[in-house]
């Protein structure tokens, strides 16, 4: 709710108020995430990543300096949308299983959530640049910013996938657990961003197209990394 108020406030250019609500949301989301981890410790309940992604994205919104109100608005609307989706479409009602009792399961989830937040931030920067009047913001600065977020997202996502593979080997003895198509979904996101970085770094496309590719990346990350962790509409409860 704090993130929704922040998004609304940003439309009325009440930036201080909006940032205060993002800060409040970040604090509450953090408490909620820590409580979720503590409740099932040393096990890990599955499908918690959407909450952690919201927390990480709120952190980015809070500590990032925005170029203008348009960018701030876009980030806060994205944050509100992600928070509402995580809140009303949970899938974390499954009991944890014993094989989640390893650091690699935690790293798989936490690093993956951080990566998603970075991909959304890259899309936010690119989206804000696309909707700003031409020439208002230098393309070079925007490009450097979305590239930085993409590289961090890619690095975290790779580390998350490697942690998942180590977990898979330790728990099941196989490099891929085929019962859960998460690895294939992860592969889509990984190859998409590997392609994006190549396109960007080798200057294969003009800046406009690359910016659209960064925005489309958020759609890919949402469909293949977030949706699998979300369930049907379910009113929020105090504890999973």
């Amino acid at each position: 709710m704090a993130h929704c108020i922040a998004a609304l406030s940003s439309f009325f250019s009440a930036n201080k108020l909006a940032e205060s609500f993002v800060g409040l949301g970040f604090l509450l989301a953090g408490i909620s995430c820590i409580l979720r981890l503590m409740k099932w410790h040393p096990l890990l309940a599955l499908y918690q990543a959407p909450y952690f992604a919201v927390w990480a994205f709120a952190g980015i919104c809070l500590f990032r300096s925005f170029t203008d109100n348009r960018e701030r608005r876009l980030f806060f609307v994205m944050l509100a949308a992600l928070s509402l989706l995580a809140l009303f479409f949970p899938k974390d009602h499954y009991l944890p299983f014993l094989r989640t009792r390893t650091i690699f399961a935690f790293l798989f989830m936490l690093l993956g959530a951080g990566a998603r937040a970075c991909f959304f931030a890259a899309a936010g920067v690119a989206g804000a640049w696309l909707i700003s009047p031409e020439g208002e913001h230098p393309a070079k600065i925007a490009k450097a910013s979305w590239r930085k977020w993409t590289v961090w997202g890619f690095a975290l996502f790779t580390a998350s996938m490697f942690s998942g593979e180590l977990w898979s080997y330790l728990g099941w003895g196989a490099p891929i657990v085929w019962e859960d198509p998460a690895v294939i979904a992860g592969m889509v996101v990984w190859f998409y961003y590997a392609l994006f970085l190549h396109l960007d770094l080798l200057r294969f496309f003009e800046t406009h197209r690359i910016a659209w590719a960064a925005v489309f990346g958020a759609v890919i990350a949402f469909v293949f990394a977030c949706l699998p962790d979300m369930g049907r509409f379910f009113p929020p409860t105090w504890m999973p």
Binding site: K39, W40, P42, L43, L95, L98, R99, R101, T102, F104, R147, K148, V151, W152, A155, T158, A159, F162, E165, W167, Y169, L170, G171, W172, G173, A174, P175, I176, V177, W178, E179, P181, I184, A185, M187, V188, F191, Y192, A194, L195, H198, L199, L202, F204, I220, F224
Partner: protein, 276 residues
């Protein structure tokens, strides 16, 4: 002949080919994701069977659901060739011009994406080795003090003890009085009489002569109620691919760390040579 090799090499070194391959991989894996979700039972045996056995049975029988997987393998093979050729060309160029670079750090930072490229090939080679040559024995049930031979090997395993840790508390109510960890004490023995005692637990495999033993199930899982006989269910794997893809992963992480450094202001200064 030389001209033909040069022509093929040149074609494989194309960056356009990389883009086409990666785009096709994204689309193919995207379709695959939805097909796996609809028919997960077709892909589940891949965990235990070798790739060839699976392809001959499940793969070809359910080709309408598995076609994307074969296409994915072909695309990955093409991407590997393309990466190998492209990367070798670039590494060659960097190495030839190494004396023009401002420092050794600059050389390492410039090589970092190529370390990742080579690592990807090593990881995929490790997976292929694993899926072709690994032997898996699933559901090897061990009862206490009864030596059991592992299929296709001369190794016997005996369960000498099973320690379970039950959860006592109210925080995780569904787990109250139920086991949250288990450790099996195992005695391995081969045909030459060599023995080893080791412990295998959840996420903690035991190893003996190239075998890795993973605990899949155990009993009793809870205190009270119906008393169940003590047993440990193991998955035993002999997988020559593991060291290969672990090495690839370690190398990839190293390359990634260097690459992340190269895009920081510190790295950019070193790359330009204006750090002094």
């Amino acid at each position: 002949m030389d001209a033909l090799i040069k022509k093929i090499w040149h074609a494989l070194a194309s960056v356009r080919l990389t883009f086409v391959c990666m785009t096709c991989l994204c689309v193919c894996a995207g379709i695959g994701y939805f097909l796996i979700r609809s028919q997960v039972h077709v892909f589940k045996p891949l965990q235990d069977l070798s790739l060839i056995s699976w392809a001959k049975t499940w793969g070809l029988t359910h080709i309408s659901v598995t076609w994307w997987f074969f296409l994915l393998l072909a695309l990955l093979a093409l991407l590997c060739l393309n990466t190998l050729v492209c990367t070798t060309d670039r590494v060659n160029a960097i190495w030839r011009n190494r004396k023009r670079l401002p420092s050794r750090t600059s050389l390492v930072l410039r090589l970092s994406p190529h370390i990742m490229h080579y690592s990807l090939i090593i990881i995929l080679a490790g997976y292929l080795t694993s899926y072709i040559f690994a032997n898996t024995v699933t559901s090897l049930i061990l009862l206490p003090d009864r030596p059991t031979r592992v299929e296709n090997t001369s190794i016997t395993i005996t369960l000498t003890g099973l320690q379970t840790r039950t959860y006592q508390g109210k925080r995780m109510a569904p787990f109250d009085g139920r086991a949250i960890n288990a450790t099996a004490s195992l005695l391995f023995e081969d045909s030459k009489g060599r023995t080893k005692t080791a412990q295998a637990g959840i996420n903690r495999p035991a190893r003996f002569q190239g075998l890795s033993v993973h605990m899949a199930e155990f009993a009793p899982r809870s205190e009270g109620g119906m008393v169940r006989r003590k047993y440990a269910g193991l998955t035993v794997r002999q997988d020559p691919g593991i060291p290969i893809y672990y090495a690839g992963m370690a190398l990839f992480v190293l390359g990634l760390i260097f690459y992340v450094f190269s895009i920081t202001p510190w790295g950019e200064r070193h790359m330009r040579g204006s750090y002094a």
